[in-house]
Symmetry: C2
Subunit: 366 residues, 2 copies
Amino acid sequence: MFFMVIERVLIVDPVDGEFTGDVEVDDGKICRIRKRECTPRGILMPGFVDPHIHGVMGADTMNCDFERMEEFLYSQGVTTFLATTVSTSLEKMKEILGKARDYIFKNPETSLFGVHLEGPYISREKKGAHSEKYIRTPSKEELKEIDLPAKVLTFAPEIENSAILLELLEKAIVLSAGHSNATFEEFMKFYREGVKRITHFPNALRTLHHREVGIMGAGLLLDDVKVELICDGVHLSKEMVKLVYRVKGAGGIILITDSISTAGFKEGTTTLGDLVVKVKEDVPRLEDGTLAGSTLFFSNAVKNFQRFTGASLKELAIVSSYNACLEFGLADRGRIKEGMKADLVLLDEDLNVLMTVKSGDTVFSA
Amino acid sequence: MFFMVIERVLIVDPVDGEFTGDVEVDDGKICRIRKRECTPRGILMPGFVDPHIHGVMGADTMNCDFERMEEFLYSQGVTTFLATTVSTSLEKMKEILGKARDYIFKNPETSLFGVHLEGPYISREKKGAHSEKYIRTPSKEELKEIDLPAKVLTFAPEIENSAILLELLEKAIVLSAGHSNATFEEFMKFYREGVKRITHFPNALRTLHHREVGIMGAGLLLDDVKVELICDGVHLSKEMVKLVYRVKGAGGIILITDSISTAGFKEGTTTLGDLVVKVKEDVPRLEDGTLAGSTLFFSNAVKNFQRFTGASLKELAIVSSYNACLEFGLADRGRIKEGMKADLVLLDEDLNVLMTVKSGDTVFSA
């Protein structure tokens, strides 16, 4: 961490918008922003946040490969991420949470912000690529063990005993509805208690029907519900991304990769928890054809979103970083503003990553 | 047709908005509008337009009961309507068009504006309450026989030979996609040729899927596509109506009743074309449970839409009259403006119809 000046860039802040100038970094923080007219040599945005990633380039949350994930994600401009589990045993969950806690303790400037527990309290009908044997209803005993660094728990509102999950809100764990067959009203019960987030919308959710719009309809209708989107062009068609953007605006969208350990390999076989996943032409599926996570890289998610929707750079900063920071109460990042943590990504005009800065250190450079 | 002054009303125009005053009517037209501050004794809106009604109170388009339909519809504030057929033989279509033509010729001030041909060129998979034996693909020979007073034809874009239907546009017949399993792209082919309307959205349409948003996704996504809505609270849930309103705004919505001859009778048995329909608790269904039109009255459609969406009075004038007038090129009505035809409906504050005026004549008074 030393003094750094990022000169002549188009600065994109999710609140103040776009302007040209220089950014001075000192002691890991943005210490000064100089607005001035210049021809920018790149686009400077707040470092990307991926709140839903299972693995990448062979590294896997289930194997606690946090360091390898972190390392690779810098090449994608990601400066904050949640290592994401699939439905598993309580023992395994405790092990992963424990190791993540240690890793964060030993690496105070790590981009690993915590763990996203996807399941196991989800719907069997909407299990997607979760192993059925681990899917269960929540109990007081299990919930006692779930604590920080868990930051998000994906659950199905309609399952038995789901109401006790609301206790997790007191531990500052964000509840995200997902892998769910919930009706509109079943979701609304949790919405009224503060659940305002939906996991990989609208994958693994009850389909929108005109007589029961369900959780998907709720996600579209309710302004203050934020939805994760996998913008790989496979999980959702371009038109669906456009529709979500049109209905909710950038303020309601959080880009994620949902990538698994094979991301980065065109073909091959891997596992997602207990399940065998085959990757063919870059798309990972279970044997029965069910999509099993993605092979999406975060910088491509940003490019695709821009291409599908025509969003502005300011909006890209909102969906790739700011919204996630807001929901996690991360007040020290997600903006390009004096006093904020120097988590930054420099992009060329085609949105390729040129450089990533984490807490003032250059952690990647193309 | 004589001179009439409608005094002290809240005038609601779909363009100029709401203001209080008096409306003077002479020779069937609005001759003067006097704006002035006053306590209004009712809400004056352009007469309602129902472009999709099969029958009501025992009267049926298939039996050419135009006079009885017209008569009853005045009690609903409807001053323009399209008598709507179900899929039937060419002979029957010709008979209905012929009789409608005669009726309009003999009654120049009738509210029967023409015929909406719903089918027979629709999808077998999405047939709803249409008799399968009449569903067919279009041919040059049949199209020769289809002419005014047909004003709308509901068709499925994806069926064989559907492209020849575009010829009907030259006869000023509006093409409306419906009873259709069309993909997004199948609909887009017709959209690009000028088809910008969808029948009773999203009933009898391919479901919105996140990887193929289909014709339903197109209806939501495309600003200049207008969609018919059956606001009876049965065909679509309240939330779905809200969602369509939220996405498209009042400018994209056309209220219809889609009512059948049993509308007005709580219980009973009737036919829709060849099919037997049973009405139970006000909901008409085929034996297999398929919804078969509605028992909705137009004034209730307006009330429900207001209740479901919170739309303003100006927006109610847009969805109940103005949009339909625009799409049919009806430049002489749909506004409360000097020089326009005096087709008016006076409502109380709960939107009950107090009086209906057609071409300057009081045709209903509560």
